[in-house]
């Protein structure tokens, strides 16, 4: 489910996912989403006379939650579990102020008041992204988010990168496209696991989708996790997925001024790959100007000139990935989990003596 973006809510499909179903909210909006049944719950409704009652769910994994419930055709509930979804309350029906979220009610007094929120509009997505990043760091995984316009050669670049690296490190790939699983199939042909996410009308991947992809792909510790975002130079810039670096790909068959036209993306990225450089002799593209434009938007950008089809310049890119993988491994050895594992290991050695 696309949690933040309004552009295509409800059409996300993750390959092989459980099933899809449709909710109708009290305000008339409809959303469809797919979900798995790891956390199934069942509940019985007893016939409360007043239309409002609260009851408790017992999840399959032992968690439980209770909630108030009005019976005017819709129902409201909140799951106390991450990866959750929330249903907005029905506006009609009775309100139980003692049991409900207001907790108390003073008759005759106006309840109009200001409530401070002070929250970032993208905070929900950022929360999911932070969880993904924590998981990556904890397990020494190096994650990259590849962004570009459609047709810049992202998938070809990925295939070549995988071929050059797959003997040294475990790799898995998340492919984002509006429709088709063509790209995931191209990646699978190289022998590494790939998962296709179809965003439907959506224009970008978000942190929530990538969280599900991680669950599904189960990346190995100290591996490389590559995310190919939807081909779009606008929206993916704002949505953190939990990656360590955004890698923007610009091909020489595009315009040199693309970084100026779409500055958000080139500012959000740390790396720019100038792809299809083998075609430079046949084009009027000024590679130096393109680099200068990109650095104007983002002075810290690292640029690699490559040709994914011919292999020129790929070694510098591969070396950069390798050093990123090493840095993640180094970081992992300092995490709490790693220290705990060491304590366990040392205690085992002590017990053996």
């Amino acid at each position: 489910m696309c949690t933040v973006c309004g552009c295509g809510e409800g059409e996300v499909k993750i390959e092989g996912d459980g099933h899809a179903h449709t909710h109708v909210h009290a305000d008339g909006t409809v959303h469809t989403h797919t979900h798995e049944h790891a956390d199934e719950h069942a509940h019985a409704h007893d016939d409360a006379p007043l239309g409002v009652h609260s009851h408790t769910h017992h999840h399959a994994d032992g968690r439980e939650h209770s909630h108030a419930h009005s019976h005017d055709g819709e129902h409201v509930h909140t799951h106390g579990y991450e990866g959750e979804h929330q249903h907005q309350p029905a506006l009609g029906g009775d309100l139980d102020y003692g049991n409900g979220p207001a907790r108390a009610h003073v008759p005759g007094m106006s309840q109009a008041r200001m409530v401070q929120i002070e929250q970032d509009i993208l905070s929900k997505n950022n929360g999911y992204a932070a969880k993904n990043r924590h998981l990556f760091d904890d397990r020494g995984i190096f994650a990259l988010n590849l962004v570009s316009s459609p047709g810049s050669g992202k998938t070809t670049l990925l295939v070549k990168t995988i071929e050059l690296l797959k003997d040294q490190v475990a790799i898995c790939v998340v492919e984002g496209d509006q429709q088709t699983s063509n790209d995931a199939e191209r990646i699978r042909a190289t022998g590494v696991p790939a998962l296709q996410i179809n965003t439907g009308k959506g224009c970008h991947l978000d942190g929530h989708m990538v969280g599900h992809a991680i669950e599904r792909l189960q990346p190995a510790d100290e591996s490389l996790f590559l995310i190919e975002n939807v081909g779009n130079l606008v929206c993916p810039a704002a949505f953190d997925l939990g990656e360590h670096h955004k890698v923007a790909i610009l091909s020489v068959t595009e315009g040199e001024d693309k970084p100026l036209k779409y500055p958000d993306m080139f500012r959000a990225a740390d790396i720019m790959l100038l792809n299809k450089c083998d075609l430079l002799p046949y084009l009027e593209f000024d590679a130096d100007l393109a680099e200068a434009n990109a650095r104007q938007v983002n002075p810290n950008l690292t640029v690699f000139r490559v040709s994914a089809t011919r292999g020129e310049g790929m070694s510098a890119w591969i070396d950069w990935i390798t050093s990123g993988l090493e840095a993640q491994r180094g970081k992992r050895s300092e995490t709490v989990d790693a220290l705990k594992r060491r304590v366990v290991e040392l205690e085992r050695q002590l017990a053996a003596k």
Binding site: G6, C7, G28, Q86, Q88, E118, I121, Q296, P299
Partner: protein, 113 residues
């Protein structure tokens, strides 16, 4: 950028808060939008009206507080005003300016009853 997505994000925060506070109606929503955040306030206004239609925030007034952009210019070693996120320093013309203010997109507060 994608103001519809952002309006949905605003609505989610507003509805979550209104539900938590037991509100029956949301009268006012105050946003802080930085000048460097690539958000078009007028487009956001339009989308906000569309997404709040029929819900608890239906008809709520939207107040957008513009936060001026500022950045740290490395050659000048000073904080300078900025009007665009990839713009040059108004003092020295360098593009080595790191935005430090005006990139926020926040829901500041809401008025409920």
């Amino acid at each position: 950028m994608h103001e519809m997505s952002l309006a949905e994000g605003v609505l989610q925060l507003v509805e979550d808060t209104a539900q938590r506070e037991g509100a029956q109606r949301v009268k006012l929503v105050v946003l802080e939008i930085g000048q460097l955040s690539s958000v078009e306030p007028e487009a956001l206004r339009f989308c906000f009206e569309a997404v709040t239609h029929g819900g608890i925030a239906h008809g709520a007034a939207l107040e957008i507080v513009a936060v001026p952009g500022s950045g740290w210019c490395m050659p000048c070693a000073a904080t300078v005003p900025m009007t665009e996120s990839f713009g040059a320093c108004p003092q020295c013309g360098s593009y080595q300016v790191q935005p430090t203010g005006g990139t926020e997109m926040r829901v500041k507060e809401i008025e409920i009853e």
